[in-house]
């Protein structure tokens, strides 16, 4: 008797559990807050998290150019690129990205066959890191297995995205997060001034910049995650550029003994890309007009939108192009 009673209860529990799980997964599939299956249909998407929302955009948005890189590329505006270069660009920047994350981001876009041009901001900060950061949701990116799909559909974190999407669509908040042209820019929010740059320099001087610039590892990861993509996609043009950090960054790196490896790595990149006809390399780091004007910066690294626009303006000019002749390192 007792066994029969508990057997029935067990069936109830399993039935409710499976029912709830299926209900949840169906809601997620239908709403699709991360646009993994289709672009947002009956609502406007609210963009609050690049790492989670970029892959869906890369899979379904209409574009022919993408922007790849860290926050140094977040201030690019697709509308400006369209005006100057005529491209339909999609910004796929990831704040704090390393080269492995950039690789899977870029390959997710390339797989759609839509990419003709790539704007690629090349940083060395995280180049020595081999893998994606812990917790990086690679299940949303390339080569999704069934398990990967389940991780999206059965994920409670989607509720947060749905709530924020609702708040945005009701017009209660997130106004700036619904326009793909301005989203993730940090332009109006933050102060650009020499004072802030020096403040940030002094703080870093005190704390030390906890980054690794091991040359061997940087070269290894550059080859594996960046150069390989260039070589595998000869029909795509890559506009690769060295972002113009403020002059104080060089001061800090010199003080910490990182500058040598930094410059060596630049030389290496120049050398290995110079014979690739689909890669155009630009160096904005040696222009003292930019990097010494501290009012362009909000800390030792981050420059304002004007600089991003200036970079776009110069893609079709010769001034910053690195060629075999003008390499100085």
């Amino acid at each position: 008797m007792e066994q029969l009673f508990y057997k029935k209860k067990l069936m109830h529990i399993l039935f409710i559990t499976i029912g709830l799980l299926l209900l949840y997964a169906n809601i997620i599939y239908f709403v699709d807050p991360l646009q993994q299956y289709r672009l947002a249909t009956f609502f406007k998407a609210v963009y609050i998290n690049e790492i989670y929302q970029n892959p869906g955009l890369a899979k379904h948005y209409n574009y022919n150019a993408v922007i790849i890189g860290s926050s140094m590329t977040e201030n690019f505006r697709p509308s400006y690129i369209r005006k100057k270069l005529g491209w339909q660009a999609l910004k796929l920047s990831i704040s704090g990205s390393n080269s492995f994350e950039e690789k899977i981001m870029l390959e997710t876009a390339i797989k759609t066959g839509r990419v003709k041009n790539v704007i690629y901001g090349l940083d060395f900060f995280r180049l020595a890191e081999k893998n994606a950061r812990e917790g990086f949701p690679d299940y949303l990116y390339l080569h999704q297995s069934i398990m990967d799909k389940l991780k999206y559909l059965f994920n409670i974190g989607n509720i947060d995205f749905i709530l924020k999407t609702m708040i945005g669509n009701l017009g209660l908040a997130y106004k700036d997060n619904m326009d793909l042209d301005s989203v993730y820019t940090f332009n109006d929010k933050l102060a650009y001034s020499a004072e802030n740059v020096i403040l940030s320099f002094n703080n870093k001087l005190k704390q030390g910049e906890k980054l690794h610039f091991s040359l061997a590892e940087m070269k290894l990861n550059f080859n594996a995650n960046i150069l390989s993509v260039f070589k595998n996609n000869p029909n795509i043009t890559f506009y690769l550029f060295f972002p113009p950090y403020s002059v104080y960054m060089y001061k800090l790196y010199e003080h910490e003994g990182k500058l040598f490896n930094f410059l060596e790595m630049k030389k290496y990149v120049c050398a290995v890309t110079k014979n690739l006809s689909n890669v155009k390399l630009y160096d904005f780091q040696s222009d003292s007009m930019i990097i010494e004007n501290l009012n362009n910066y909000k800390d030792i690294y981050h420059y304002s939108e004007e600089i991003n626009n200036y970079i776009i303006d110069n893609f079709n000019k010769k001034k910053y192009v690195v060629t075999a002749d003008n390499q100085t390192g």
């Binding site: 066994q3 508990y6 067990l10 704040s95 940083d123 059965f154 940030s200 690294y301």
Partner: protein, 478 residues
Amino acid sequence: MLFNSYVFILFFSPVVICVYFFLNKLKWYRAAIFFLFFISLFFYGYWNPIYLPLILISILINYFIGASFNHLFAINWLNRKFLLLVGIIFNVALLAYFKYSNFFMSNLNYFLNNNFQLLKIILPLGISFFTFTQIAFLIDAYQGRVKEYNLINYGLFVTFFPHLLAGPIIHHTEMMPQFSDTANKAINYKNLVIGLMVFSIGLFKKSCIADTLAEWVNNDYMRYEYLSTFEAWFLSFCYTFQLYFDFSGYTDMAIGCSLMLNIKLPENFNSPYQALNIQDFWRRWHMTLSRWLRDYIYIPLGGNRAGEIAIHCNLIVTFLIGGFWHGAGWTYVIWGLLHGMAISIHRLWKKMNIQLPKIIAWMITFLFVNFAWIFFRAESLSQAFTILNKMFQPIKVELPSSIKELSYTDIIPDLMMSYKEFFLLFSFFMFICFTTKNSIALKSAYTGTLRWNVFISVTLVLGILSLTRVTTFIYFQF
């Protein structure tokens, strides 16, 4: 393999339950035991099979020593005591090599100004637990309390997957009779339901509560130099609850999935933060470890029959060993020392026979435990002292400049839960911890009404939906 993983919940445990009871239904009892042993090894080696040989060798050697105490082999020329000593040294040496060698070497480097190259050792999973389990077995066998003549049975006792990685620390005598009892070999739906309930609660504690708190704690430990007074206090409470929900959740999952196989594991947590004194705390927190330390360290040292001063020394030594067992670092030693001293002070206090009001007694106990956990969590002594320092710094209104910088270049505020939201969540977790019945009490409270079944299903579903988390990336510098 971990309990809180898709592969365990969706694949491993259903298959193990079905196959185990199917083999038993055919009356292939030996095959069922062998299957459990084999599947436990699979569980152990799932991520990294490299340490399978290690655990197998350890089992083999302990089995032969244990069996020889029971005259399985005629080794009369060997003194039994000597053999026991060899066995214990073997277990301790294995643990020392894999867990503590780098700690000893870096200390030697520090004190002697040497420069020994540290070893590249990956800590074998669960080595602390299976070492203690097997030492207990050797001593029990030596004293004639245990007889085990079968290698596979012994292997299953050590590796049985529910307790293998993080306890409870079990005794041979409480486990093996359950495996041989034929009444336990048929499927038992009551145990399945109750086991599933306890497992679901554990999963919920671990993946919904502990992991949420962990994100906050890890974030604040990363920027520990910049904490305000309030933040430092809040951080210490968060970790105190994280650890409880994490460890007791894990134990619940272990007890739950073991119960589904009709094997009752000993209880390990009994609402420890409701303890009214530190001795009471240790009767409620990681109970099987306390039991082990009492039986195999404290009592052999003389126990309560020793002289008064010796008792105090023994208490402190026992807790020092207990602390060091938790991890190879000075922070764990200090943590153990603090608890040893607290127990010793409590013993003196009891002699004075002064009754404190309950609320005061609870507060002293809880705050002490809370302070001690700071050492347990901190990566270094200096980090622990910095955080303690922050807790007692004068309250400042203005943020230090470095935090200002951190907040506007490193973190996208939208992604972080605000303090207000998190505080609400934290209060809810605390409410659970102090007011609801614990999983021991819930086991006997189940009545089978729809409300109970929905409760079990919802905790299980929430636990499963939280297995993959949306991670907040704190290191947003570039």
